[in-house]
């Protein structure tokens, strides 16, 4: 389960262990800078153009790429979907890696 605590992305596993995800926290803060409000919702799965996924991935890899930007509502919605997809993909990868290395 993912929680946002004090603007930090926190992963809580089935046994209640808490892990902070610092890279994703940076991404979250940058997405807030671009989008304003950021909702975290795994159900945001509407198909979007690849370019939105690439932009989120780019912001993750190069945080300095994130500048304040005045996107209109529609592109903002799509960026939010891309952000959620990226976030949950990363969490899933993290969980899989953790499970297999414990």
């Amino acid at each position: 389960m993912i929680e946002v605590m004090n603007d930090r992305i926190i992963l809580i596993d089935v046994t209640g262990n808490i892990t902070e995800m610092p890279d994703l926290t940076v991404l979250y803060k940058n997405m807030k800078k671009i989008l304003g409000d950021v909702t975290i919702d795994e159900k945001l799965i509407t198909p979007i153009e690849d370019i939105y996924n690439y932009i989120v991935e780019k912001i993750y890899l190069m945080p300095e790429y994130a500048h304040e930007a005045s996107f209109k509502d529609k592109p903002k919605e799509k960026l939010l979907i891309a952000f959620n997809k990226f976030l949950f993909d990363m969490i899933e990868t993290h969980e899989t890696t953790t499970r297999h290395t414990k």
Partner: protein
């Protein structure tokens, strides 16, 4: 008069390959034939293409081949300029300077002259007429283009006068793109930059011979893997301009075309393009 930086930041570029014919055979170029063919642009095809693009801000790069060989180049330029959303750019090996000198006097046409070449193994040589010098600093939107090929890098110290003449604001320096199978290229952009490039590549092509859209100029011709192509329709143009047409292809994975590590255009540019 438009400024180059404004164009680079706010307009998507599209190559119009008016003809494949060229009077030169640069070793790194994949888009030419010495056979002289299709030298008159089909104006009906041009008009319909521009009509499909009418609502999009784009930089139309007229090239080929060598656009200076095109018989009705002035007519083509006038047509491109007729829409304020479109900026006209001409890339020539200097033949345009000789045959169509008015192009250089029009600051609304970005004239880019590619006149330096490591044509031989042991030296740098110039394309174009011997009497032609590199373009000086100017406010007419005329630019020199230098591709930093391996031999350019190797031998440039032997040509200090030429390098000095090129060292000003009206010279564009382009990273060598590794099109030649002869040269080894050890520089490849990060995968994410290539993905972003693929979404709207540097740059898509309108092929005036086959009259269709080609995904990427890099794989346009003379390659074993050809770039994807699409019918030229309003639907496909709309998809292209809204990032829905092109995908990250297998040839993008191996692409050695240099992409600026910061992304091939900044986030602000995406804002203006995705807010349409």
């Amino acid at each position: 008069m438009k400024l180059l930086q404004d164009i680079q930041n706010n307009y998507l570029a599209i190559d119009f390959f008016l003809t494949m014919s060229c009077n030169k055979d640069c070793h790194y170029c994949t888009s030419y034939t010495l056979e002289q063919r299709n030298l008159t642009v089909d104006m009906e095809f041009l008009k319909s293409t521009l009509h499909y693009l009418r609502n999009y801000k784009c930089r139309i790069n007229l090239l080929g081949g060598e656009p200076g060989l095109v018989k009705n180049l002035y007519e083509v330029i006038d047509e491109v300029k007729s829409n304020p959303n479109h900026v006209c750019e001409v890339l020539s090996n200097s033949m345009v300077r000789r045959r169509y000198p008015e192009v250089l006097k029009d600051p609304d046409v970005f004239y880019v002259e590619h006149m330096i070449l490591d044509f031989y193994e042991h030296e740098i040589t110039k394309l174009g007429h011997k009497s032609h010098q590199f373009l000086d600093v100017n406010d007419m939107n005329n630019y020199n283009l230098v591709i930093k090929t391996p031999n350019f890098t190797k031998y440039k110290h032997l040509y200090p006068d030429d390098i000095e003449k090129l060292s000003h604001a009206n010279t564009l320096w382009k990273q060598f793109n590794g099109r030649s199978p002869i040269f080894h290229v050890d520089e490849q952009a990060a995968e994410i930059d290539r993905k972003m490039c693929a979404a709207f590549p540097m740059v898509p092509v309108i092929d005036f011979e086959k009259q269709h859209i080609v995904h990427c100029s890099k794989k346009f011709a003379n390659n074993t893997i050809l770039s994807k192509n699409f019918d030229l329709t309003q639907e496909n143009v709309d998809k292209m301009m809204t990032f829905n047409l092109f995908k990250y292809e297998s040839y993008c994975v191996k692409c050695t075309e240099y992409v600026n590590p910061k992304g091939h255009f900044p986030l602000k540019k995406y804002v203006s393009l995705l807010n349409v």
